[in-house]
């Protein structure tokens, strides 16, 4: 095992996959000479050269759809979108083209593309640089949506995403880039579509992902002192999500809290809550609580009150503990 930062785990995943498969290439703004705005491609330009680590003009729509075209002709592009907010400039590419090509063309073309982007607050960068939009993509049939919370997960999940024959929206979190964690020296992957129980517990199930996994773990430590035991499930893949793991956990705890950094309304927590009530309502002993940001844009000076954290998780857990059917 070795210690590595999240951002370098991303780099290693890309580097190893580029070594393994000559059809894998990286494309995006400032990914080459500048080695990535957040440093995710450090050393890759020197190693693979400008044909495989490709700096683009500021043209998200153009280069994302070009990557899709290349993917449908046998290449395996990794597209970097500098901030998740900028992906809004290439929604046609992702929603109308990438997500639909395989199905719409009767399985003739597959589009093995990974579109990577960091989401979330943490930089006080205001309304156009702090958004979490995973639910948009999870709502579009034809896209897999992955969110990684640790260096180990980000490496294993990114490798699986690159090897996947279908499009994957791969969501990082800016506040996690500097996080350290240990990973194996040897090649490993983590399957898409499987959740990970980050902490076992018996009273309440928390279904979460990305940065909120860590906030939930903090909440779990604090609540343990109050005698409440939390089971923290890191979904890792938001679409398709791991029903089995979530339902099994609820079968044990009978209480559910969902937590994401994105605004609460219409977030992935809502989908999970709905599925639970549709399919295993009888297992629930109390109403489901959802944690998410308030339904308002992020703002420059109120970020620390806006972005949800461990306290919000604790409050939601206490609420569901206080109530019962």
């Amino acid at each position: 095992m070795k210690d590595i930062r999240y951002i370098f785990a991303i780099k290693e995943a890309m580097e190893e996959e580029m070594e393994r498969d000559e059809n894998v290439f990286l494309v995006g703004e400032d990914v080459g000479l500048a080695e990535g705005s957040f440093g995710a491609s450090r050393g890759l330009y020197d190693k693979f050269g400008p044909d495989r680590v490709i700096d683009t003009p500021i043209s998200e729509l153009g280069f994302t759809s070009m990557a899709a075209g290349a993917a449908s002709c046998g290449l395996r592009p990794i597209v970097e979108i500098m901030f998740m907010d900028f992906v809004t400039c290439c929604m046609d590419s992702i929603v109308n083209q990438i997500a639909k090509m395989r199905y719409m063309f009767g399985n003739q073309y597959s589009v093995p593309i990974v579109v990577r982007m960091p989401e979330g607050g943490g930089l006080n960068a205001g309304p156009q640089h702090s958004q979490c939009l995973e639910a948009w993509f999870a709502h579009v049939p034809g896209l897999k949506v992955v969110m990684a919370s640790t260096p180990y997960d980000v490496k294993g999940l990114l490798k699986s995403s690159i090897r996947d024959d279908n499009p994957v929206i791969f969501i990082e979190n800016k506040t996690l880039h500097a996080m350290k964690g240990s990973i194996p020296e040897e090649d490993f992957t983590i399957p898409l579509g499987k959740a990970d129980i980050k902490r076992e517990g018996s009273d309440v199930t928390i279904v979460t992902a990305s940065r909120m996994v860590h906030e939930s773990l903090k909440a779990a430590d604090a609540l343990a002192e109050e005698g409440i035991s939390l089971e923290v499930i890191d979904l890792m893949t938001i679409q398709p999500w791991d029903r089995e793991t979530v339902f099994n956990s609820i079968g044990k705890t009978h209480r559910l809290v969902t937590a994401h950094e994105a605004v609460k309304q219409f977030g992935f927590g809502a989908e999970i809550s709905a599925a639970v009530t549709e399919e295993i309502l009888d297992e629930l002993d109390a109403p489901i609580m959802r944690v998410g940001a308030p339904f308002v844009p992020a703002s420059y000076s109120l970020e620390k009150f806006y972005v949800p954290g461990a306290d919000d998780v604790k409050n939601a857990v206490r609420k569901t503990m206080e109530r019962s059917f």
Partner: protein, 319 residues
Amino acid sequence: MSKPGRKKLIEFYTRMVRIRKTEEKLMEVFSNGEILGFLHVSIGQEAAPVGICAHLSDLDYIATTHRGHGHAIAKGIDLKYAMAELFGKKEGFCMGRSGSMHLADKKHGIMGANGIVGGGIPIATGAAFAARYKKTDQVAVATFGEGATGEGAFHEALNFAAIKKLPIVYVCENNGWAEFSPQSIHMPIKDVISRATAYNMPAVQVSNDVLEIYEAAGKAIDHARAGKGPTLLEVKCDRWHGHYVGDAQKYRGKDAVEKAMGKDCLLNFEVTLLTDKVLQKKDIEKIGAQVQAEIDEAVDFARECSFPDPSEMMDGLYI
């Protein structure tokens, strides 16, 4: 176009000094953590905003970019409330919600800096459309860097404005860098004005000289006001500092930075004014001191203002 008289020249100079010194102050307060988020300064690029906004009234519109302090100041923003915004205070123009990257002031026709590259170009085009629709003689200006001309938004807006002959001037401040990449990575052409050919739009290129910019912008704005349609104006300039404050610029050699800093539109203008005896050394000092006092007062004001209360977060959301 008549040559600017003495009073105007001094006003141009004062505005350029105001931009320069404000941004120097911003770098200082950013470095000591009083302002947060991203701070993009336009030091070395003060000539364009001043030369252009000299032709605009409060009723005219401007939409700018992440590097937009200069335009807001040149368009007449009140420094105190701008500073309050940059400090994230609720007395700021945007209630502390925008900070540097989205600074807006409706009273002066400032339609916002923008966090999305190219985002403001069609917005300004829409302002020009509204002016035409309402048959006013207002004009709009969109400012942006050469990097933004890679976005579809730029091309779509110019095409539309050219077809409709909208009253707008597109001002590209070509500082040679888009974030960490030189122009050669972004563009197969040397001059942004070449792009105007595709839209059958007049285009003018000028150097980073306030008087040259003033003259060219004057013609373009008159042209727009007269209903003759848009112009693309390219100002060749240099970015002195990193993309944002704190950018170590490893991608750009020290020599290149020094070379850029050797080209100083403010100093050049100062020399011209001294040579032409418009100003004397002591006037320069006096203007510098006055502007500095204004800025210090704005910073003191901003410090005394209060942060919005978390309970105000939802205010103004209409859902």
